[in-house]
Symmetry: C2
Subunit: 204 residues, 2 copies
DNA sequence: ACAGCCATGTAACTTGTTACATGATTTT
DNA sequence: AAAATCATGTAACAAGTTACATGGCTGT
C-alpha cells in the first residue's frame, strides 16, 4: 500500500517516470528502506490498470512517463483524509515471538528480551548517528521518518522492560497461588494495581 | 516469517495439526490478528518441503498431523537466539505518509497529524478496554501483545506531537532565513538544540 | 432438517523481495 | 576502454488476504 500511495502522491505533483519516482521516494524517506525499482514499474502498471494514472508515452528523452488521473487525485485525497488503520495491527514479529516464548519450553524469555534489548539499543545509536548528519531544513521529511524509528525503538525498549516486570510478577503469582487456592482473586487485583503503576499515563 | 516461526515453535511442543495450531496461535496472541486458516496449511506444506517439519499422517481422528524435525528444532532455537532485525525496518505507512505530506501541495500535514492522533487515541481506549477484561495469569502472553500495541500507540502519539513541533520550527526557519542568507548555519544548530530538548532521553 | 463448528484444502490475487537481461549515457 | 549510473523491464518466489469447495460431526 505504501508504495502505491507514495507514487500517486508524487505524481500528483506532476508527470514523472519510474526511475525518477523511485529516486524522489528514496530521497524523502532517506534511504532507510532500500526501495526496489522493479516494484515501481509493476505498481505503475497496476495503477494504470486501475485508472489512477495514465501513461503519456515518451517524454522525448526516452522516459516512459506517467500522469495522474482525476480518479488518482481522488485516491490521494482519500488517503490523506483517512487515518492509517491500526484496526488490524501489523503482525509484529517481536510481539509474537515473546508471546510464544512465554509458553515454550525451548525458549528462555529472559534471554530473548536481553538479546532484543541489545540489538535495539544498537539500532538507536545508529539512528542518532544518522540524525547528527542530517540537515534540519533540507532533510525535513527524512528526519521525521528517522524520528519515527527512534520513537518506535524507545517504545520497544520500554515494552521489553515492562514485559520483564510483568513476567516476574506472573512467576511470583504462580508460586504464591500454588499454596493457597482461594488467594488467586486477591493476588490478581494486586497485580493489576502494579500493572497500572508500571505503565505510562494513558490520558493526555 | 512470523507465522512460519510461530508454527515451528508450537510444533516444538509436540505434534499437532493445522486447525489446532491456528487455534493455539490465535489464543496466545489474543485474536488481535485474525489469522487465516488457509495460510496455515500452505505454510505447513512449505515447512515440510524445507525439511523443518514432517507429516506423520492421520492421527486416528482424521487429523493431518505434523511433527517437528531436528532441523526444525534448530531453526526455532536460532530464531529465539537472534534478535528481530530492525536493520531493514518495516515500511511504516504512517511515517511514509507524513514524509510525503510535507512535500506535497495536495496534503495538509497538520490535518494528517490531527486525523491520525484522533484515530490512535481511539485505538488506545480500545486497548485499555481489552486489557481490563484479561486475566493476568491465564492471558499472560496475550497481555504482552496488548502491551506492545499500547506502547506502540503511545510512541505514535509522541511522534505526532514531536513532528508538529519540528514542522513549526522548520516553518519558522524558512521565514527567518529568507531574509538573512548566512543565518542558516546559526539557526540550524539552534534547531538541533531544540530537537534534543524535545526528545526523551536516549541513555538508560 | 438446519445451523454451526471442526477440519482440510485450493485458487486468485496483492504486495514485496531478489535477481537477471538489456541497453543508453556519463564519468573516470 | 572500463566502470558507474541511468533507465525499463521480466521472472520467480515468499507471505499474506479473501473467498470458495468439501465433508464430518454436534446441537437445537
Amino acid at each position: 500500500m505504501s508504495v502505491r500511495h507514495g507514487l500517486l502522491t508524487l505524481l500528483a505533483d506532476g508527470p514523472s517516470y519510474g526511475y525518477q519516482l523511485r529516486a524522489r521516494l528514496e530521497d524523502q524517506t532517506g534511504g532507510t528502506w532500500p526501495l526496489n525499482i522493479g516494484q515501481i514499474y509493476t505498481t505503475l502498471t497496476r495503477l494504470q490498470r486501475d485508472g489512477l494514472v495514465a501513461a503519456v508515452g515518451d517524454d522525448g528523452a526516452g522516459h516512459a512517463t506517467y500522469q495522474i488521473t482525476d480518479a488518482g487525485r481522488g485516491a490521494v485525497a482519500d488517503w490523506f483524509r483517512s487515518p492509517v488503520s491500526r484496526a488490524a495491527p501489523a503482525r509484529d514479529e517481536l510481539a509474537i515471538k515473546l508471546a510464544l516464548a512465554v509458553g515454550s519450553p525451548v525458549a528462555d524469555v529472559r534471554d530473548v528480551i536481553q538479546v532484543q534489548r541489545t540489538a535495539t539499543m544498537r539500532a538507536m545509536q545508529e539512528y542518532a548517528r544518522l540524525k547528527a548528519g542530517a540537515d534540519p531544513v533540507d532533510d525535513l521529511s527524512w528526519l521525521l521518518v528517522l524520528d519515527s524509528l527512534v520513537f518506535q525503538a524507545e517504545a520497544e525498549i520500554r515494552w521489553l522492560d515492562h514485559s520483564e516486570a510483568r513476567l516476574a510478577r506472573a512467576a511470583h503469582q504462580r508460586t504464591t497461588t500454588a499454596t493457597t487456592a482461594d488467594a488467586a482473586a486477591g493476588t490478581a487485583t494486586d497485580a493489576d494495581a502494579d500493572a497500572v503503576a508500571d505503565e505510562p499515563e494513558v490520558a493526555r
